[in-house]
């Protein structure tokens, strides 16, 4: 036991004395929360649009004014002629063009009917769709204001309630995802690299000839990273509650226990990676391409899993982060209890045991 503590101390010193790495490890969750919390929104606002007004009368001016006033749009150019439309899109300055035909007002007054053309830059189909919807809504509002208030018979109203996230904040979706990402990075990548590094530098030999049981050497390596992750979990939770104002609806104890469970799962994964790779670069590539990207792509936090083709949906089941993400989201946001997450928890426990067994089996105590 005393030997084990010495080894843990040695590993701590390794981590502690590398200030740059420490700084990044603690800075990472902070930065991610900031970026995800404030910079990344799928919300559409202040989009640059262009106006091609062939009519230039009072009605068109009024509509343009309404568009300008909406927070979704930012009118950046007045396009002089139809032929200028395409070059303006190609130069990348606008995402939407609103085109008024000639004699717009006259047509509207005399025939009670006039057409506005909306041209969207569909290189980004979703944005184009949203923009066209928003612009149509503004125009319809204007049209309704022309009519004045008229009561409609037989009307169906809809009341909407947004469950769990009434303000539709993006943060509710990604806080669990960021947690999974950071843990993946700190535990899996850092642990595996630091073990492989000892192999590469040759210091592993020195350790293997010491009287301690080899597997304890490896476990000692995990301890500092486990503590680091615990600190990171705490800082992410604090940041999300106090800075992003994402409340923890469910039980905090349960949440912390689940987080620690996932930490152990990922540490076991790191161990597995280190036992199959011989060089740091390989360990890094495996954890980056094999773990990190699937975590981002297949855990459901960036992209909805139900949209994926079936084979990918099946593959997503072996990504531990998917289960962790579901657990955290359920506890933190929906506020449900253990009875809703027991299955996911069981799967994580099973994965952990599997990784542990495989990596201990593969762990070589002999030198080639």
């Amino acid at each position: 036991m005393k030997q084990f503590i010495f080894f843990v101390r040695k590993e701590f010193l390794h981590v502690w004395r590398d200030k740059r790495t420490m700084l990044i490890l603690f800075g990472m969750p902070l930065m991610q929360i900031l970026i995800f919390g404030f910079a990344l929104t799928n919300e559409v606002k202040n989009t640059r649009i262009g106006i091609l007004d062939n009519s230039k009368d009072e009605t068109t001016r009024a509509i343009i004014h309404q568009l300008e006033a909406s927070r979704y749009f930012d009118i950046v150019t007045n396009i002089p002629t139809n032929s200028q439309l395409e070059p303006t899109f190609q130069a990348g300055t606008i995402k939407l063009a609103v085109v008024f035909p000639e004699n717009f007002e006259a047509q509207l007054l005399h025939t009670n009917k006039a057409t506005i053309q909306l041209i969207g830059d569909a290189t980004d189909p979703n944005t184009a769709n949203t923009l066209i919807n928003y612009a149509s809504a503004v125009i319809i509002d204007y049209q309704n204001s022309l009519r004045g208030q008229a009561e409609f018979p037989y009307s169906i109203n809809t009341e909407m309630r947004m469950l769990y996230n009434p303000q539709l904040k993006g943060s509710y979706n990604f806080v669990p995802g960021v947690m999974a990402m950071v843990l993946m990075l700190v535990c899996a990548m850092m642990t595996s690299i630091s073990i492989v590094r000892e192999k590469e530098m040759g210091t592993m030999e020195v350790i293997l000839v010491s009287p301690i049981v080899p597997i304890w050497v490896v476990i000692a390596k995990m301890v500092p990273y486990f503590i680091l992750s615990a600190v990171n979990i705490a800082s992410i939770l604090l940041l999300s509650v106090f800075v992003l104002e994402v409340p923890i609806q469910g039980s905090l104890t349960l949440l912390v226990v689940e987080c620690l469970l996932f930490t152990i799962t990922v540490l076991a994964l790191g161990l597995l990676i280190s036992s199959v790779s011989d060089s740091q670069q390989i360990a890094m590539l495996i954890s980056l391409m094999g773990l990190f990207l699937p975590t981002i792509m297949l855990s459901g936090f960036m992209f909805p899993i139900e949209n994926m083709p079936v084979p990918l949906q099946i593959v997503s089941n072996v990504v531990p982060a998917k289960w962790f993400y579901t657990i955290v989201r359920n506890i933190m946001i929906k506020g449900v209890g253990f009875e809703h997450v027991w299955m996911e928890t069981l799967i994580l426990v099973g994965m952990t045991i599997f990784f542990m067994v495989v990596s201990i089996k593969k762990f070589k105590t002999r030198l080639e």
């Binding site: 970026i35 190609q90 009670n112 980004d124 169906i156 809809t158 309630r161 909805p304 949209n307 994926m308």
Partner: protein, 372 residues
């Protein structure tokens, strides 16, 4: 010049004699490019809806039929208990609950007014918003049908109507892959370039071979160039593979000229490799270099405009994107591939990225010391 050529020979040999790395380098991007666009689908579809019908009238039936006949919504369950519906939402089996009140049909006909209730799982805000809006538009369509049934509408519009005709340019089929694939290709080229160059010098430091180079008459700029050129070539090769894959697998043929893409990619790779080299002159261990470049790449990529539109970012983030080479390449890629922009259209992008490249590489040369 000769020294540079010999250095290049050494670097290329090192790359080609490490089959594991080489395989990773080419296979991974290929696999990613084949899988990622399939996963990266933001399009909101397959919204799972659970209908709670307290009315069971012919109108409520009609409404439900109208909703399920779109391929947008899938009916999870048709029940008469709100609590049961809520359990579906808690288990993520339903995204949306539509509750039809007991006197739906009667109130609609007699009172001229009735309210439906929608409860939406809003953890994913975008999906909630779009799903809700779409359901509302179906309901108002249904409402119009009901009115037509009961009222005779006059032929000519008594009130002014503004018609809205919308067209989608550059991607009329609204294929989301066309949007994602060029962007993902940029990310892959960036990742491979930045990581490999960042790790390279550090590896020599860690193994100790850099000492040997330091005592040779090789000049600093020659050393940096010797590291830069092989990865520059590799980057372009990966770009080529990527373009081929996107052509074969997704049928994406650049509208603009491929030449434009290569010219820009050449300039871009110089700046990204410069960044990697700069990182590797700072770091002492591969672990540090990896973590540092990972940290930067993460910020660059997330704020690069691949997933979310830059226009909707707050001011500070928008200013940051002006200093982010990844942003420029993603923009250029999309402009050239989808809109057919020419070298003249992207001249500013080119100039800025070139300036980044010169700046970063000069810094890397300055920061590389032959003395320890």
């Amino acid at each position: 010049m000769r020294a540079l050529l010999i250095l290049l020979e050494k670097e290329f040999r090192q790359v080609f004699r490490n089959p594991a790395i080489l395989r990773m380098m080419f296979l991974m991007p290929a696999v990613q490019l084949l899988i990622m666009p399939l996963a990266a689908d933001y399009e909101v579809k397959n919204v799972k809806i659970c209908v709670v019908d307290y009315d069971h009238s012919s109108y409520s039936q009609k409404l439900v039929n109208k909703i399920t006949s779109t391929d947008y919504f899938t009916l999870v369950d048709y029940t008469d208990s709100y609590d049961k519906a809520l359990t579906y939402v808690e288990h993520d089996e339903a995204d949306l609950i539509l509750q039809i009140p007991a006197s739906f049909e009667r109130d609609l006909v007699r009172e001229d007014e009735v309210s439906l209730f929608l409860a939406i799982n809003a953890i994913n805000g975008v999906k909630a918003n779009l799903g809700g809006a779409y359901l509302r538009s179906i309901i108002s369509d249904f409402n119009r049908d009901v009115r037509l049934e009961w009222l005779q509408l006059p032929r000519q519009n008594p009130q002014p109507v503004i018609e809205i005709a919308s067209i989608n340019w550059f991607n009329p089929l609204m294929n989301y892959r066309f949007f994602m694939v060029p962007g993902i290709l940029v990310i892959l080229v960036t990742l491979v370039g930045a990581f490999l160059s960042a790790l390279n010098i550090v590896k020599e430091k860690e193994i100790g071979t850099i000492e040997q180079i330091n005592v040779t008459p090789i000049r600093k700029y020659q050393f940096i160039l010797g590291k830069l050129i092989p990865f520059w070539v590799l980057g372009l090769v990966i770009l080529t593979i990527g373009l081929l894959i996107s052509w074969i697998a997704y049928g994406i043929v650049p509208v603009g000229s491929v030449f434009t893409i290569y010219v820009f990619a050449g300039v871009y790779l110089i700046s990204i490799l410069g960044l990697g080299l700069l990182v590797s002159t700072f770091a002492n261990t591969q672990q540090q270099a990896m973590l540092l470049s990972f940290f930067m790449m993460m910020i660059f990529i997330l704020l690069g405009g691949l997933y979310t539109s830059i226009d909707s970012m707050p001011m500070w983030a928008q200013i940051f994107t002006k200093f982010n080479p990844v942003t420029y390449f993603i923009e250029v890629m999309r402009m050239v591939v989808l809109k057919g922009s020419t070298l003249y259209d992207i001249r500013y992008h080119m100039l800025i990225v070139l300036l980044f490249g010169i700046g970063l590489n000069s810094l890397a040369i300055l920061n590389y010391h032959k003395r320890s």
